[in-house]
């Protein structure tokens, strides 16, 4: 284990708050790690060196004045580049937002800054969050810090890579069908998709509004708990925000799993699941055994309609995306390709501004919503979401927590799946159902595959039960086999 794996947000904030270390020195240390390896990894679309220095100095001035900068005092954070930052380019890794500087901050950004965090940069993603490998970016691919020939997963691949490489101890991602959890699994870090509505989406550039949710990525379970406490809680500027305070998570992490009933989802882990790797199944079995040894009861269970999750998702998400992305018309912000009339200007702008995957999803969604097909595709898929919710509800009568792998395989080589969208979509097969149901789930690193790359275990909980989810995650973390030696400090 490299020494830098010991660097946690919780530890850094405690040192900065008590005056043992300055926020500025914490920042400079992280900037030097970024400087050494960012060129080969490309986690960031933008590193905000001077802004970050100014923010760190503000934190240090607060400490010097005897004020408490907050629970994330001086902690460097990276933001997925679909989260709005006032006056700072927010690209969604798309050409279509070229030159755009949002006139407002996302709520999560305001909350992080108010808690003393220092924003160091905006991370790369699959354009508008559409992808599972961070290869669909207008600004080039992000590489997995643990093996530069492999993808980091996606779409929050830049954020997961930044945390795994030790660029920042914390990052924000967004998760529409697995975009926080799958890259976290592939990079050997923790990633959390909270219950829909726990974290405000105000200032998150919309992909599929009924599925999108912002969440933390970190090297430890405790750090994700800390970050979620800061960013969670009701926001009047998001009409889908749940009107309750953020859950108290850091205080429950040592409660253990004694007496908890944990179910392994057969459909997302058994032999029937297309493409699930032998080593992934082996780690899941070991995770189940570890939880049993810690006092939980573990049994296989069935959530039958999750087998329809992928199909329903690839109708619902593109349908909502086609509607959300209609706003990019070259009129009010971002790119404009001029043409003699407005209609042609719209077409020229969208054709030049969007990448292939975004075009594919817009067309798929437009088709699924078009006259004559609405009932067959979108209407049917929305009903499938009800089936999935009902099946989860039945499973949660018997179990407190459900378990599955986060992804069917470890990180795959760059370029392997780019020409076959359906093969790429199958990466999301284990994560999608939580988004369709609106439930929380998170990925916890649990040992390595036969190729030496990380494997993540997915912990699923019923709506708003982040507390139990984090208890299980903490036990998995403490019982996990050794992870990748390079996590948190590039070898």
């Amino acid at each position: 284990m490299s020494p830098s794996k010991e660097i946690t947000a919780r530890g850094l904030a405690a040192e900065v708050r008590s005056g043992v270390r300055s926020a500025r020195s914490v920042l400079e240390e992280h900037l030097s790690v970024i400087d050494a390896s960012e060129k080969e990894i490309h986690a960031f679309n933008l590193v905000l060196i001077e802004d970050a220095r100014a923010a760190a100095d503000v934190v240090d001035a607060q400490v010097a004045a005897g004020d408490d900068p907050g629970p994330l005092a001086g902690v460097p954070v990276a933001l997925k580049d679909n989260i709005c930052t006032r006056g700072v380019p927010t690209t969604c890794s798309s050409r279509i937002l070229e030159g755009w500087r949002p006139p407002y901050n996302a709520t999560v950004v305001d909350r992080l800054v108010a808690a003393g965090a220092v924003v160091v940069g905006k991370t790369n993603l699959d354009e508008f969050g559409m992808g599972s490998s961070t290869e669909n970016s207008a600004f080039g691919v992000t590489r997995n810090p643990l093996d530069l020939r492999k993808v980091p997963g996606g779409s929050s691949g830049g954020s997961a890579a930044a945390v795994a490489a030790g660029f920042t101890p914390l990052a924000l991602g967004s998760d529409t069908g697995g975009s926080i959890r799958q890259p976290a699994a592939l990079c050997g870090v923790v990633g959390v998709k909270p219950t829909y509505g726990v974290v405000s989406r105000y200032g998150l550039v919309a992909f599929a509004s009924s599925l999108d949710q912002i969440g933390p990525i970190s090297r430890t379970v405790a750090d994700s708990a800390l970050m979620l406490e800061v960013i969670g809680g009701h926001d009047r500027r998001d009409s889908t925000s749940i009107p309750v305070p953020a859950p108290d998570l850091t205080s429950v992490l040592d409660r253990g799993v004694e007496g908890l009933r944990i179910g392994i989802i057969e459909e997302l882990s058994g032999d029937g699941l297309e493409g699930i790797a032998v080593d992934v199944k082996a780690r899941l079995g070991e995770a189940a055994a570890a939880l049993e040894a810690a006092g939980a009861t573990v049994a296989a269970t069935s959530v039958p309609s999750t087998v329809y999750g992928l199909s329903a998702y690839y109708v619902v998400a593109p349908a909502e995306a086609s509607s959300n992305l209609a706003r990019y018309d070259g009129v009010r912000f971002g790119l404009r390709i001029d043409a003699p009339n407005a209609g042609d200007m719209n077409i020229a702008t969208r054709t030049a501004g969007f990448g292939d995957e975004v075009k594919r999803r817009i067309m798929l969604g437009t088709y699924a919503l078009s006259a004559g097909y609405y009932d067959a595709y979108y209407g049917k898929s929305q009903k499938v979401r009800t089936l999935i919710m009902n099946d989860f509800a039945r499973a949660y009568e018997e179990f407190d927590i459900l378990l599955s792998p986060t992804a069917p395989t470890t990180a795959f080589p760059i370029g392997e799946k780019t020409s076959d969208p359906m093969a790429m979509y199958l990466n999301d097969v284990c994560t999608i159902s939580s988004n369709l149901a609106g439930h929380p789930s998170m990925s916890v690193p649990f040992g390595l595959g036969n190729d030496g790359m990380p494997i993540g275990i997915q912990v699923l909980a019923p709506a708003t039960d982040e507390v139990t989810m984090f208890r299980v995650a903490a036990v998995l973390e403490s019982t996990a086999p050794a992870g990748h030696p390079a996590i948190g400090g590039v070898a």
């Binding site: 949002p102 219950t195 829909y196 509505g197 009409s239 889908t240 749940i242 009107p243 329809y308 992928l310 199909s311 329903a312 690839y314 070259g330 009129v331 009010r332 912000f333 790119l335 404009r336 043409a339 003699p340 009339n341 407005a342 209609g343 042609d344 200007m345 719209n346 077409i347 020229a348 969208r350 054709t351 292939d356 075009k359 817009i362 067309m363 798929l364 437009t366 088709y367 078009s370 067959a376 595709y377 209407g379 049917k380 898929s381 929305q382 009903k383 499938v384 979401r385 009800t386 089936l387 919710m389 020409s419 076959d420 969208p421 359906m422 093969a423 979509y425 609106g438 439930h439 709506a463």
Partner: protein, 105 residues
């Protein structure tokens, strides 16, 4: 990937129509590639056809939340000039676009 040559779930002309609705312009080569790729996704989604969903309600929202009305009081709003400054072209505090009706050459 699977090659589709015979009957597909979506035809080349349907993809062209959808691209038109979505304000996208495709080359012939793109049209061929997208037709195959969209057909593959729709093929996968065909497993939904076997489901009997007659008595199932569509899910509109993951949680039982309700509309909330705030007091009708003016709060903080975005700065007009700051918002306008995001636009590619403005004139007289309005977004400027090329001619919309009947004026194109």
């Amino acid at each position: 990937m699977t090659e589709y040559t015979a009957r597909q779930r979506i035809s080349r002309s349907e993809v062209a129509h959808v691209a038109d609705l979505a304000r996208l312009s495709l080359t012939d080569q793109e049209l061929d590639a997208f037709t195959n790729q969209l057909a593959a996704v729709l093929d996968h989604a065909a497993d939904l056809e076997a489901l009997d969903l007659t008595d199932v309600e569509p899910m509109i929202h993951p949680l039982p939340v309700h509309n909330v009305l705030r007091p009708d009081v003016v709060g903080e709003t975005s700065d007009r000039n700051e918002v306008l400054s995001c636009a590619p072209s403005i004139e007289n505090e309005q977004f400027r676009v090329p001619p919309v009706l009947g004026e194109s050459p």
